[in-house]
Symmetry: C2
Subunit: 404 residues, 2 copies
Amino acid sequence: MEISPLAPAQFPDLPKISGVSFAVASAGVKYAGRKDVMLALLAPGTSVAGVFTRSATRSAPVLDCQAKLGGDPRGPAAILVNSGNSNAFTGARGTGSVEALTQSVAAQTGVAVERVFTASTGVIGEPLPHDKIAAQVATLHANQSDTGISDAAKAIMTTDTFPKGSCATVDVHGQPVKIAGIAKGSGMIAPDMATMLVYIFTDAEIRQAELQELVSGLNAKTFNCITVDSDTSTSDSLMVCATGASRVDVSGNEAFASALHALMRDLAHQVVRDGEGATKFVTVSVVGAKDNADAHKVALSIANSPLVKTAIAGEDANWGRVVMAVGKSGAAADRDRLSIRFGDITVAENGWRAPNYSEDAASAYMKNAELEIGVDLAIGGGQSTVWTCDLTHGYISINADYRS
Amino acid sequence: MEISPLAPAQFPDLPKISGVSFAVASAGVKYAGRKDVMLALLAPGTSVAGVFTRSATRSAPVLDCQAKLGGDPRGPAAILVNSGNSNAFTGARGTGSVEALTQSVAAQTGVAVERVFTASTGVIGEPLPHDKIAAQVATLHANQSDTGISDAAKAIMTTDTFPKGSCATVDVHGQPVKIAGIAKGSGMIAPDMATMLVYIFTDAEIRQAELQELVSGLNAKTFNCITVDSDTSTSDSLMVCATGASRVDVSGNEAFASALHALMRDLAHQVVRDGEGATKFVTVSVVGAKDNADAHKVALSIANSPLVKTAIAGEDANWGRVVMAVGKSGAAADRDRLSIRFGDITVAENGWRAPNYSEDAASAYMKNAELEIGVDLAIGGGQSTVWTCDLTHGYISINADYRS
């Protein structure tokens, strides 16, 4: 698979986060000869917050993580992730696999089973060969390294064409606090309260309940604002782990919240940049809606419209399809107040094509790899920004024959 | 454009409907040398019922038709339709075009302007060259023929690869009542209270209010149950015209309602069969939902999922994506009670792959051009059936460069 043309120039140099270490291994879950399992170990007292898919058919690991969040944080914690198989829709056997794996990690590492979190990503409905993974746990424990995060980013990839990472160092009360995160995701991307697999680590000190509130709020503005194909995964998991090793209390600190926000947005953008078959990164900005919820409806309606996305793939300034997507969204709209712009070019206003509209200028703009579609509904103060990609032959090729 | 592989073998031999006549002409709205306008004239007293898009950005002709429905039915009526330009999002100029055309028809035919209905289908946001159409109205009036319906079916086509027609003769109180209908539609198909352009004519006698109620109810089970790409047109219009010429009162007659239902379903299926790029006709049947609304949500979630639709295109029995689509639908579902079948092959039940599941048998089934995906949620009595097609390279090719 070729690397997405929208990929960042390189994987960032992620800092060590005191209190967390990583290792990867080749368990042969689906493919032989690639690293497909990662184990992260977290220092005692680490606050672990998480947001997960709201799918009614969510996977066994997701259900297990949800049950464990918010438990006693005093002991150490662990996160075990495999790619190649999602252990979703695998019935009682799926639950059994999670139990086998969490107990294996607990036995090898001494972490209480209630603090062992897992995730699985890949094909749905196949039995997870958990014995193969369990057989690697001792090695994963022995090979822990505080510089292993970039290998972990690669081990959790599925159809991703590049590993995704982001980091920040933020000054809190004159002291440095570090954050580093990794993500995977490329298709089946339309987060609903969470998304894909995302793991973020920080040495900040913060209580679990407060971290959870912060993460849930930021998630609504980042991972819940991206879409590749409107399909929501059964495995979506975001976890943020604060080890406290810096001894810097970030409770209520705006600089920390802002840095975490930027990092989450960066990782979310990277998922869109790796959207299956994507050749364009598109920002959809909606303002002037009745309220923020209506603005989000309109933005998602545009970002998920196959006709808008194929027009973008064809570099066609087909703003009529944006009108269509506004119209079908269900949000309050007044056709004659609506205005639409592509980048800085106003293409439609007052219920029609802008008077100075130039097809040549709009077509030239569409050749950019990074595009913005702006919509002003001009009826209220609601706004929302959503990020998406185009819909190309590449998406069809990747997904028409995924399993074989 | 090649004819869809799912097209019916031939256009049906539609019967003459007493009280309605047709003519077509070449106005050169977008392309030169093809028939692109049709005018239907309806006898005095014809009941005209209609259902239209609920889009907030609906077209000027749709707004005009909605304002006119339910008016005094005593005089004659007319329907003027052009292809090549939808007169949607054309501001005050669009309304002016509708006025110019309805007045032109009224002047030439003697039909009161309040009984002249129009529709336009094609590109959004371009000014409608209504003078070109108005210039053809005298010819359209002079050339009226009671056998012109098949030409009308062709004149209203846009990206359609075949004209769509259906007919029925039904026995009411020992007397024959005839129904004939035509439709166009291929992309931007996700009806919301109505769909595409559909014109149905019958010589039945029935009051407008009663016809409207019947048509609205049947629409919910036919055109509102199809989707090609989840995008809803700004021009969707369905009109049913009962001339009364047979002198057979069909009020409350179940045979008539049933025949009209079958005809509307047939036309709706033909639209899906002409779905842009379609190679498979797919019936999605959901039973056992909490209620019918939930069943419809699940059925549409499956039918609109790009990942389900690309799997079907790839003849991949990827039922895990059906599980995903059920999960994201927002409807009540219990992962462990859910069962899924492809045709007669149960692929998943009790929260996992069916014990006797055979990948070979499922893969062989997926090679059929007509497929059924059945879902039983097993938690209630709600049910819904939706029809869709696959998502192929053909859809991308057609839509990535539609305007050029």
